[in-house]
Structure formats: structure tokens, C-alpha cells
């Protein structure tokens, strides 16, 4: 081993010596390779078709490989779950996928899908329902037939319902096993309040109360074709698929459209410092507040702002530089923006993980960076230019994968953006100036009203954190 170290040192000396004279040359090489232009491309040809039943579909044909991906977005959302039965939407999604249908036993469906290498996924997020299937072209008909059968003719088999309840309850029992998972859940609870549908998580009682009747009732309000959007990419011609989709969906009774308005959230948040006790060597820190809405006029400026402050896309962000690179305090240091609907602002938060002893120091650095970008003096014009151009240059990746493109089109529409949202986004980013970034940070960030949640070892983190302000202990045992 000794020999290896010496060899390394000598080796290094040598190439230092030889590389010296070449530096000027290398700099020239590098300068010649730097790019300044936006990547110009024509958007792949997306065809939009309104089905006879009202469903709106976006297609990209791609015959390179014998594969097809298919996705649906339908109005639904966890935020609409009744508080006493929270978990209802998640349970319905799981039971649609694995509870069998009126035509076929659940076991038969699982075996058939696996034997044919067909993947079907159904889930309900906070604000949207998403269902998708992927298959080899030869198996597309089988995949689609089973897909719509699962959506429209569920059987809610008792045996599967019991299994699903058991698994979901186990998830609740295991929710405090990993500090990172705790941090995510509890930050939202502190921010929005325990009772808010925007922070709710299933608990043992709410899972226990859910009945098959509840699933049926919720199901009856979903899947009206005129409220659904579909995205298809791959080895299939739109015209033929449209016919097949229309025929498949027509087999099932018509369904009424249901209007939903996302529940409002109080915009005040709960500023302060919380410690969630967990004896771990590394603390998980989340700092932020209730954040922007999707129609915020400063939306694009905020995206550029976050690229400067803490976007995970780069190590040159302020958070990574000050917390990770310069001080070695953390492996992760980043920030993000979640844009909410107009009735319910989303979130802005910054995140890091550091050992118990450096927890307070890292909290201070997170706060300082947020304060600094809010003040705006350190936001340099060249930095804004570089970040804006980075976002624009990598924007091509929005168009690069056909399924990614069509599925992001329908997602944008479902969230209330126009169908040409990607174009608007690019133009919006391109127009952002340093002044915009500074104004957006000044308006949207609230460094004096930050909620800070630390999952960490109380014996080591509480005392140093007290120097920053009063510390609340999160009542973990009292959580439902």
C-alpha cells in the first residue's frame, strides 16, 4: 500500500509538470466548445383527436420498436378524501388494479398480465388520477381490454380488500422507520395543519373505516370520458387505436361528469422551529413556507430563481455550494417549488441532511441563503443569464421522449394550463431578467415566516437549535 501511495504522488507530479505548458492551449480548446445557442428543433408531430365519447387524446407514432405506452388522466384526488376516511382514493386505486373484475378473478388477471409482460398502473395523487399501461405491440389489444375492464368493471374482491387493508395499515405502522420519510410527512403537517387535506396521511382508524361501499360510491363519480385525457406513444397508428378505444369504452355504461373544486388552504402557515424526536446520527432538515400558485405572474422568474438558489439540476446552486461543496456539511442541499391551484397555494421548501452536531449550523445556512436571495443584492445578472440559458438549452429534453412529451401535455392540461403550455413555458423563461428574479424572490419568499422541521436526535439537536429561537417538540406519539 505504501508503494501505491508513493507511485501516486510521483505520477501526479509528473503530469502536473507536463500539463503546465498545455494550459493555455486547453483553455482555448474549451472556449471553442462552449455553446451559446438554444437548441432548435421541430416538435415531433403530435396528433390530437377527440373521441366520440368526448375523451381527448394526444398521439405520437413511433415505430422504431414494437412497444406502446398508453396513459390516462382523470379528475380525482386525495385532497377530496373525507378526513375520517383518509386513504380512500389510494385504496380505490389499489383495488381497481388488484381487486378483480366482474368478468375475471383477480388472480387470473395478475397471471395474465405477467405472462404477457403487460404493466398496468393506477394511482390517485393529491390533485389527479393517473392510469397507464405498457405492452409489446402484439399484446396491445389484451392490455387495453384488461385496462378498461379494471377501470370500469371492478369487483372489489373481499380477499384482495383484506390484503390491501393489511398492507396499507402496515405502511402506517412503518411510517417512522426512516427519518427521511418522516420529514416529508411531518413538514406538510406542520405547515398546513394536521387536519388539512393537503397534509393528511392515512392512519389506522381511517383505513379501518373504509368500506367496499365507499369504494363503489367514489368510483361512481370517476371516469366520465369527457373529463379524461389520454396520451399514447409508440408502435400504433392513431386512427386504428381511436376506433379500438371507442369500441372498448362503449361497452360500459355512460358515466356522469363530476365537478370538483380543490379545498382551500390557509395561507398563513405555521412559522417556527420544530424538532421531531428520532435518535439518528443524521438530522433531516426541511425549511419553507406555503408557496406559489400555478397562475402566479412571476412563475417563470421563480423557476429561474430556484435554479440559482437550490435546483437539484446543478451543483452550482447557492445551497449546494455553501452547504455541500465549501463546508462538507451535507450530501444533499436543494430547494424546490410546488405550484398549487389558485385556491390552495403550493409549497416552497429547502432541504438538507447533516450530522447531529452540525444541524443548527446547517439550519442557519439554509435560512441565510433564503434571506439572501430574498434581499436580491447578490443575484448577479450573469448568473441569471447562465441559469436561464441552462434551462432553455436543456428544454429540448421535454420533447426528446415521445411518451414523456404526450404525457406532460395532458398533465399540463389537467392542471389548468393551455395545450401549448410547453411553448409558453419556453417563451416565459426566455423573457426572465435579473429584475424579474429579484422581484419574484422579494414577493414570493418570506424569510421571516419560515417553518423549520428537523427530524433528529433530541439529545444533540435541541440545545443548539434553541439559540436560533423557541423550539417546539412535534408530538409524534399523538399523531393519528
Amino acid at each position: 500500500m505504501r508503494r501505491l501511495i508513493l507511485a501516486g504522488v510521483t505520477g501526479l507530479c509528473c503530469w502536473h509538470a507536463t500539463s503546465f505548458g498545455a494550459i493555455g492551449e486547453a483553455k482555448k480548446t474549451l472556449d471553442a466548445l462552449i455553446l451559446h445557442d438554444q437548441v432548435v428543433t421541430e416538435m415531433p408531430s403530435v396528433s390530437e383527436v377527440h373521441l366520440k365519447n368526448g375523451m381527448r387524446c394526444f398521439f405520437i407514432e413511433d415505430h422504431l420498436l414494437p412497444l406502446v405506452r398508453f396513459g390516462l388522466i382523470f379528475p380525482a384526488g386525495e385532497v377530496y378524501d373525507p378526513p375520517e376516511k383518509f386513504g380512500l382514493s389510494a385504496m380505490l386505486a389499489a383495488m381497481l388494479r388488484s381487486g378483480g373484475t366482474r368478468q375475471h378473478d383477480a388472480e387470473w388477471i395478475d397471471d395474465t398480465l405477467d405472462a404477457n409482460a403487460i404493466k398496468i398502473e393506477i394511482r390517485i395523487e393529491q390533485e389527479l388520477g393517473i392510469a397507464g399501461a405498457q405492452a409489446l405491440t402484439d399484446d396491445l389489444d389484451t392490455a387495453l381490454a384488461l385496462f378498461f375492464e379494471l377501470l370500469y368493471a371492478p369487483a372489489y374482491q373481499d380477499d384482495r380488500f383484506a390484503i390491501m387493508k393489511g398492507k396499507m395499515a402496515e405502511g402506517v405502522r412503518r411510517r417512522n422507520d426512516q427519518p427521511a420519510h418522516m420529514a416529508q410527512r411531518i413538514f406538510q403537517k406542520v405547515l398546513y395543519g394536521e387536519e388539512s387535506p393537503w397534509a393528511a396521511t392515512p392512519n389506522l382508524d381511517s383505513i379501518d373505516r373504509i368500506t367496499v361501499e365507499d369504494l363503489r360510491a367514489l368510483h361512481a363519480t370517476l371516469f366520465a370520458p369527457e373529463q379524461m385525457l389520454c396520451a399514447v406513444a409508440g408502435d400504433v397508428a392513431p386512427a386504428s387505436l381511436v376506433k379500438r378505444l371507442e369500441a372498448l369504452m362503449a361497452q360500459y355504461p355512460e358515466r356522469p361528469a363530476t365537478q370538483r373544486v380543490p379545498p382551500a388552504v390557509p395561507v398563513t402557515g405555521r412559522p417556527g422551529l420544530w424538532v421531531v424526536p428520532k435518535e439518528v446520527p443524521q438530522s433531516v432538515i426541511t425549511v419553507g413556507h406555503v408557496g406559489p400558485v400555478r397562475d402566479d405572474p412571476d412563475r417563470y422568474a421563480l423557476v429561474v430563481m430556484n435554479e440559482i438558489l437550490g435546483s437539484p439540476a446543478t451543483f452550482t446552486s447557492w445551497l449546494t455550494r455553501t452547504i455541500r461543496t465549501e463546508q462538507g456539511l451535507a450530501y444533499e442541499a436543494w430547494s424546490t417549488l410546488k405550484f398549487g391551484p389558485s385556491t390552495a397555494p403550493g409549497m416552497f421548501y429547502a432541504h438538507s441532511k447533516t450530522r447531529a452536531e452540525t444541524t443548527a449550523k446547517t439550519v442557519v445556512l439554509l435560512h441565510d441563503n433564503i434571506r439572501k436571495i430574498h434581499a436580491g443584492i447578490d443575484v448577479r445578472a450573469d448568473e441569471v443569464d447562465a441559469m436561464r440559458s441552462a434551462i432553455l438549452r436543456r428544454f429540448i429534453f421535454q420533447y426528446a421522449d415521445p411518451y414523456h412529451l404526450v404525457s406532460s401535455i395532458i398533465r399540463s392540461i389537467a392542471l389548468g394550463y393551455p395545450a401549448n403550455y410547453l411553448d409558453l413555458y419556453r417563451a416565459g423563461i426566455a423573457a426572465v431578467t435579473r429584475e424579474d428574479v429579484r422581484r419574484a424572490a422579494r414577493t414570493a419568499l418570506h424569510p421571516d415566516a419560515l417553518t423549520t422541521v428537523v427530524v433528529g436526535d433530541p439529545a444533540h439537536v435541541i440545545a443548539p437549535l434553541k439559540a436560533l429561537g423557541p423550539v417546539n417538540i412535534y408530538p409524534l406519539a399523538g399523531e393519528k
Binding site: M1, I5, A7, G8, V9, G11, W15, H16, F20, I23, A26, L30, I34, L35, D37, V39, P44, L65, D110, L113, D114, A115, N116, A117, Q134, L136, K167, A169, E170, R173, R174, D177, Q178, A180, V280, P281, Q282, V284, P312, T314, F315, R321, T325, E326, Q327, G328, A330, Y331, E332, W334, K353, R355, A390, R393, R394, I396, F397, Y399, A400, D401
Partner: protein, 517 residues
């Protein structure tokens, strides 16, 4: 023997260190040889070697003006000297710190300071541990140089060059077998990609080493010390192996990380970052001619140098270094317990050979049969028939594929069921594997899914580039992707039963249990 890149992509982490957490389902590499679309695509692969021994795989395809470029180096935890576990990964972090041109404001000044830091390090390694005061003085002196160097470095300039020029993803990962650097970029950046990546592996400067070592220790805290599953996996490896380099996780132990020095990283680079260990794979829409010229200029400038002890690998042969310690045959069941404030979990490991041994293919099939989708036998039996566990999973080649590896089964018992009961029921299923023959339908399903998985992986530039590089590095030939499935098509039910009889017996297993204190 295959990496699931879909899972990898969700990680933002600069690296991922262990097969358990991120490389999953090693085994389903396959494609079906002789079938049209995959063959037509792979026929386009341009495969050549530079005079210095570096292998190049280029695959122009698609219309979108983007590409993924991968540089893979056949060096990982296996190559670390004793007492230096974690060095391969530590070096990978350092490769992002720049070169004599990139990342500095004044190389002349900086290089003097780096030399001083290196000398202080050497002095430090010569001092006994008991010389506390002297050691501290040296560390303080080193920290002062480090602070002075700060004034003349341009932190993360390399990242800026990638990011500002449109990298949608820049990342790297280190395993026991290999180290991979990659980026997704717009097509017009292909020459820039070649230049930057070549400089990272050829002329890295170990600036900011000690701050980065702290970062790596935080990474270990996140993935192991704060993570009950990480601790369980670490305990499993240390119990299942006694002498193999696979005994330690890639991330290394806290004690050994603490002892890593700049000189260690420099030595590691000098010893192993040689062109004959490197594969460059580029897939997507790019100017092939320009890429080839740049690759010849910049990767071609890396001097050829044979790694001591390395063998020239015959085409299609297994890449294996001289003589890593061989793991003695396990004679009796082993057990280990990890206590943590977390719900119970169990992992069971069985030793098996790696490719090109026929058993490696058989275990790829066994993994499918036991744990695939909703219909895998273990999933069906434990999660539904017995309703006693969740998250039942199998890994067919952990923690790597260059050495003899492990087949691993893991499960989380539901409340009211003990880990012992879960282990007993897993054994019940394995017992049927050792006695009964798998049905023809089940074998057909394995082959169908292998084909589908392979096609889905071809569908994406990144996973395809990673696959080509991976098979070239570990199997010695990227065409392994094709031959794997041809061999898989010849597997019989009798062979599977025989493999289970030979390798999945209770006395051959290592059981690791996570429980509350």
C-alpha cells in the same frame, strides 16, 4: 446480471453505492436473439478500440437532437487496497472537481498548495495514532493550506460547464465492479461532452478533498446509518462473506473513510484509470464523425498503461482481475441481527457463481419465477396466500457480477408475524423448487418478460448506453445483451430444479434480521 436504470434515474444522488438500494434485479438482461427490431437497432452499433486500448461504442439513432454519453471504468470496490474501503467511490466524487484548467483561478499557486497538502498528508500517515498533539498540528496546517487554496479555486466550474451547456442530467455511480460517469445533453454538445468527460477521467485534480470526504461521510449516514435497510444489507454482506472483496459495501465504513487521503485517491487514479479499463458509449442523435474525431483527440490522449496483474480479455470472455481472495464454500447456516428503532425486515442470501457460469442464467430465471410482478411464487404465497409479508423481493446477482455473488430474498413481515415465520414460509416455497419441475408456461413467461424488458431498455438512450457499456465492461462484450437471451431460451425445468437443489439449501443460507431493540 443487469441493471435497472429506470430506478437509478429517480435518484438525484451524485453516486449510488450499493446494488441493494439502486441496482436491482440483476439478471434480466435479455433480448431475444434473432428477432427483428432489436437486431436492426443493435446492428448500428459502431464498435472500435483506440490505439491506447479504450473501447468505443457509438449508436446513432432517433430524431430528437439529444444524446446520452457514458464513460465506464472497470474499477470499483474490488480494487481497493485493504483498509481503504470507500476509496473507489471517494475518487469518483473527486473526478467532478476539475482539472489544471477547469476549476482553478490560478493553477500555479494552487498546485503549490496542493503539493504542500500532499506532503503534510504523507507526514501524517507516518505518525503513530498516539501522537495526538503532533497529528493535530499537521491537520491544522493542512486545513490552513486548504483555506488558502479556496481563494484560488473556482468551485464546481466543471458542473457549470455541463449545466450551462444544457446537461439535463450529470451523474456518476460507483459499485463493487465498476465506476460510471454519464450525462444527457443536447446533440450540439457532443464534442464538449467528450472533452469534459475525458478530462475528468484523465487529469482530475484532488482539490477540496477533505470537504468532499465529509460529504461522502454524510452520504454514508443517509444511506446506511440513518437507513435500517442499509444497515441490514451491510450486516448481511459482512456475514455471508468472509474473504471476498464483496464483504464491504461500496460506500465503505466510517473509520476507513476517515482515513482516506488525497494521496490515496491520486494513487487509485494512477493505478486503475487506464484506457484499457475504459468504455465510452454514446447513444442518440449526434454527429458521429465529429464525435469520433473528438474521442480520438481527447480520450486518445490518455497514455496506454497496463494495470499490474490485469489480463487481456479474450473477446466474449469474462473480465476478471488476477486473483481476488476466493470465498470458501459455506458449510452451515449463518445468522446476524441488526437492532434499530424500525419495524422488522429479513434478508436471506445464498452463494452462487457469476457469469458466464450456467448457474448465473438459471438464477436469472429463478429470480423471475419467485419475485416477478404480482405472480411470482414468493409474492403470491407470502403476500396473498399467507398474508404475512409485504415488499417481497429477489436480487439475482448482488452485490456485483465480476466475482461470485449472492442470490438475495428480502421481505417485511406484517404485524403479528415473526421474521422466523416468514423465513420458514420462504423455505416452504424453495422446498417446492427443489422437488417440483417448473411448468412450461412459467418458463415461457420468463422468456417473454426478458424480451419485453430488453426492448423497453432499448427504447431509451440512457438505459441503452448504460447497458452497452455495462456488458462490455463486465461480460467483456456488449453483445452479451443478445447472447444472454439466446442462452436463456435453452433453460430447462430440470436444470432449474437441479440449481435449487445444489444452491438453495437451508445450510447454504445467511439470514439477516432487523428488529427493534
Amino acid at each position: 446480471m443487469h441493471i435497472s436504470y429506470k430506478i437509478m434515474r429517480v435518484f438525484f444522488s451524485l453516486i449510488f453505492f450499493g446494488p441493494l438500494l439502486c441496482i436491482v434485479s440483476c439478471g434480466r438482461s435479455g433480448c431475444f436473439g434473432g428477432r427483428g427490431p432489436a437486431d436492426a437497432l443493435l446492428a448500428q452499433v459502431e464498435d472500435y478500440q483506440l490505439p491506447n486500448g479504450l473501447r468505443v461504442l457509438l449508436l446513432p439513432r432517433g430524431e430528437a437532437p439529444v444524446f446520452t454519453g457514458v464513460v465506464q471504468v472497470r474499477v470499483g470496490g474490488i480494487e481497493e487496497p485493504p483498509g481503504k474501503a470507500g476509496l473507489a467511490h471517494m475518487f469518483e466524487h473527486m473526478a467532478f472537481k476539475g482539472t489544471p484548467e477547469i476549476g482553478t483561478l490560478n493553477w500555479e499557486e494552487e498546485s503549490v498548495l496542493l503539493t504542500e497538502i500532499r506532503q503534510l498528508d504523507v507526514q501524517l500517515t507516518q505518525l503513530p495514532v498516539e501522537a495526538v498533539a503532533q497529528r493535530q498540528a499537521l491537520v491544522n496546517a493542512r486545513n490552513r493550506r486548504f483555506q488558502e487554496a479556496r481563494a484560488v479555486i473556482a468551485s464546481n466550474e466543471l458542473w457549470s460547464l455541463f449545466h450551462n451547456n444544457g446537461a439535463a442530467e450529470l451523474n456518476a455511480f460507483t459499485g463493487k465492479d465498476l465506476t460510471t460517469y454519464y450525462a444527457r445533453m443536447p446533440s450540439d454538445a457532443v464534442r464538449l461532452w467528450v472533452y469534459l468527460m475525458s478530462q475528468m477521467v484523465h487529469r482530475p485534480v484532488m482539490r477540496e478533498f477533505y470537504a468532499e470526504r465529509d460529504v461522502v461521510m454524510e452520504e454514508r449516514r443517509t444511506s446506511v446509518d440513518n437507513n435500517p435497510s442499509g444497515q441490514l444489507f451491510e450486516a448481511l454482506l459482512r456475514t455471508a462473506y468472509t474473504t471476498s472483496p464483496y464483504r464491504e459495501m461500496t460506500i465503505g465504513s466510517m473509520e476507513e473513510l476517515q482515513g482516506l487521503t488525497m494521496a490515496d485517491a491520486e494513487a487509485f487514479h494512477a493505478t486503475y484509470y487506464h484506457p484499457e479499463r475504459m468504455v465510452v458509449a454514446v447513444v442518440g442523435h449526434f454527429d458521429v464523425k465529429a464525435a469520433k474525431t473528438s474521442i480520438a483527440t481527447f480520450f486518445g490522449a490518455i497514455p496506454p498503461q497496463s494495470t499490474p496483474g490485469a489480463r487481456v480479455v479474450p473477446p466474449g470472455g469474462t473480465v476478471r482481475e488476477a486473483d481476488p481472495p476466493r470465498e470458501p464454500v459455506q458449510q452451515a447456516e449463518r445468522r446476524v441481527e441488526v437492532t434499530n428503532d424500525a419495524s422488522p425486515k429479513v434478508m436471506i442470501a445464498y452463494h452462487k457463481p457469476t457469469l458466464p457460469h450456467r448457474d448465473d442464467y438459471l438464477f436469472d430465471a429463478i429470480q423471475y419465477l419467485l419475485c416477478h410482478g404480482e405472480s411470482g411464487r414468493l409474492i403470491k404465497y407470502l403476500e396473498r396466500d399467507r398474508q404475512m409479508a409485504r415488499h417481497v423481493g429477489c436480487w439475482s446477482s448482488s452485490p456485483g457480477s465480476r466475482l461470485e455473488n449472492l442470490f438475495i430474498i428480502s421481505a417485511e413481515p406484517l404485524e403479528g408475524h415473526s421474521t422466523a415465520a416468514v423465513v420458514a414460509e420462504i423455505e416452504t416455497v424453495l422446498e417446492t423448487f427443489r422437488t417440483d419441475l417448473v411448468s412450461r408456461d412459467a418458463l415461457r413467461s420468463v422468456q417473454k418478460n426478458l424480451q419485453a424488458d430488453f426492448l423497453w431498455e432499448l427504447n431509451d438512450n440512457e438505459s441503452l448506453a448504460q447497458q452497452l457499456a455495462y456488458f462490455q465492461t463486465v461480460a467483456g462484450d456488449w453483445r452479451y445483451a443478445v447472447t444472454h437471451s439466446q442462452i436463456m431460451a435453452t433453460i430447462t425445468a430440470e436444470e432449474l430444479r437441479d440449481a435449487a437443489l445444489r444452491r438453495l439449501q437451508p445450510h447454504q443460507r445467511t439470514i439477516a434480521v432487523l428488529r427493534r431493540p
